[in-house]
Symmetry: C2
């Protein structure tokens, strides 16, 4: 706990807890400075951030958007909120994120490039964007991913909801694509209660992101004129005040999370049959969640372990149910997913709060 | 200022500022008790509340939804977020809300009833719901409105964003329709920074509202299984903590607002050419905003007055630009709107904060 009380109390005392007030601006500046993005636009949560980022990247009703089958459901929901269709792609064993090499091979035979853009040969629908998601804070192999996106003229929108503090080749995640998004939900590295942000280096996209997330109201001394169908996705000033205090603590939180991950790694190195997910090559992970791997993937063994751990009071969790196994996304197009299936049957998240590193050396 | 800081500090100290914690439950109970609705589901803002309420009332892509042309843009945006089309209807001079009598006459010639429901004769689209909005806190003539809705088998979703504390025939606004919605944006009677709620007396709709606004995750000790395309519209616990403290003050805030309205009425009664909007018959208004009427409607005189007032440091505002005059809603179907046009050219909102009644007797 740092300056959370002071910042939030100052915000309450100012009585500007809502859509007007200094903390939203300050929080956006802090996020831009920290990530190295030119612009950060604070919004109400990570799902809202991804929804608007996809819209600004040109995703339109009936389009397909390439997203990993292994992700939190919000990644797919944000695509649905654009009235578009998720198209599930394969994961990489080391990074837990999109496998750019598998993606390249897959697009070679499943897609068609034309002046209209990229089309899915099977469905005839336009493929409008690709969304690398940095799973549990571990960066996707962005170098190769950007090459593939370039080759197929695909806009990249990074879902960096889990990776504040994670870098690939020294560059912060969420700043490689045309747009990137962050989340500050309660379970994230830092929290604003609920909140998110859109990152971009493009001044026009940043201006549009702000406009569309604040009811598209044209500036006027008194008039109410709105020029587009838009959203009320503004982050309240109260939540931004908490975010500012949390940002002040980010590097200390990240240090403690890294220490905890090192401890897990040490403790687990001699345990037979169980591995530990470490940050990928060329990357620095925030180790948002610490993750074990069963060396022999098995959903039934995984579930027995989860039962035992939770019975014993240890909050262990599986990874997400693969998105194409959820009823509302069962009929969406998908690539072959052998690695994603293997990851689903082998990953177990273990308690990861920075507080657990309290007394560690 | 009452217990705002105590509640928010308690929430920060608990570290449960986000999606888990006691304040969301407590705030929902307080809202249900106060309004007399059986259930209240807290969400991230009023637009989100209306979006989900419309969805739960059965509004589907391509449907039309009857809403007043005189409303904040969020009413129309929530319809758009359901991929439905706003259909603008006429206002009543006294209430500033939907005119049920004009609506009845309009539906007689513009709609067709069949076993499929109500259809717009001109567009062939289904008319899926009607949304009375209680303008500036003044209740719509709900008795007649419910009669019309009954006659045409139209679900009623009340937009009570502005009318917390307002009653019609002793019953709280937002509790007459199948569903109703509230807003706690910074400019409202009470605020949570940003927030809203869905009201209903139907247990199943309440359960669905909670489910769909919290990613449709099925309860499970550890599993991640979601059973519908859904939204992240949950109100953070931090904002609910502020809401609880604000609810404790609601009756005092309403008293002060009523006092301020009485003063405006007294002062204005002898001013020639200018009237004051008073609560409609059979209603108690929260007087969220105090509103003057030019007796001779004129956009140009209105704007001259607004310029002068704002130049002098008085934050006076016009009513909203009628929704069909906004570019994105210009092509939507609409009834004849002579009264709405007249209201647009004659209403001026004057400073209305409860604080202004501080020293009044």
């Amino acid at each position: 706990m740092g300056n959370e009380w002071d910042r939030v109390k100052d915000c309450l005392d100012s009585t500007f807890v809502s859509s007007v007030g200094k903390y939203v601006d300050r929080f956006e500046v802090m996020l831009a400075e920290y990530t190295g993005a030119k612009y950060a636009v604070a919004v109400v949560n990570g799902t809202a951030a991804l929804h608007i980022a996809l819209f600004l990247a040109g995703v339109r009703p009936g389009d397909e958007v390439l997203i990993p089958a292994l992700s939190f459901v919000a990644t797919a929901n944000a695509v649905s909120h654009c009235e578009a269709i998720p198209h599930f792609i394969e994961s990489q064993f080391e990074t837990l994120g999109i496998d750019p090499h598998a993606l390249n091979d897959y697009l070679k035979h499943c897609s068609l490039s034309s002046s209209e853009g990229l089309t899915n040969r099977l469905t005839g629908r336009r493929i409008a964007a690709v969304v690398p998601m940095h799973t549990y804070g571990h960066p996707v192999e962005m170098g190769s991913l950007l090459d593939v996106a370039d080759r197929y003229h695909l806009p990249v929108v990074e879902d960096a909801a889990e990776s504040l503090g994670s870098c690939y080749r020294g560059q912060h995640t969420g700043t490689f694509g045309q747009l990137g998004t962050l989340s500050f939900n309660g379970n994230k590295v830092i929290t604003t209660g609920g909140g998110g942000a859109i990152l971009t280096n493009d001044a026009k996209l940043a201006q549009q992101a702000k406009h569309l997330t604040t009811t598209a109201k044209q500036p006027h001394r008194w008039g109410f004129f709105h020029d587009a169908v838009a959203w009320n996705y503004r982050l309240p000033n109260l939540n931004a005040a908490l975010g500012c205090a949390q940002m002040e603590q980010l590097s200390s939180l990240l240090n403690r999370k890294r220490l905890l991950a090192q401890k897990y790694q040490e403790v687990l190195q001699d345990v037979e049959g169980i591995g530990f997910v470490v940050e990928p090559a060329n990357s620095q992970s925030n180790y948002w969640l610490n993750t074990l791997r069963l060396e022999q993937p098995s959903l039934s063994i995984r579930d027995r372990l989860l039962t035992a751990a939770n019975d014993g009071g240890y909050q262990c969790r599986p990874t997400w149910t693969l998105l194409h196994k959820l009823p509302m996304y069962a009929d969406c197009p998908r690539a072959p997913l052998p690695v994603a299936e293997r990851l689903e049957a082998s990953l177990i998240n273990v308690p990861s709060s920075a507080k657990l590193a309290g007394n560690m050396k």
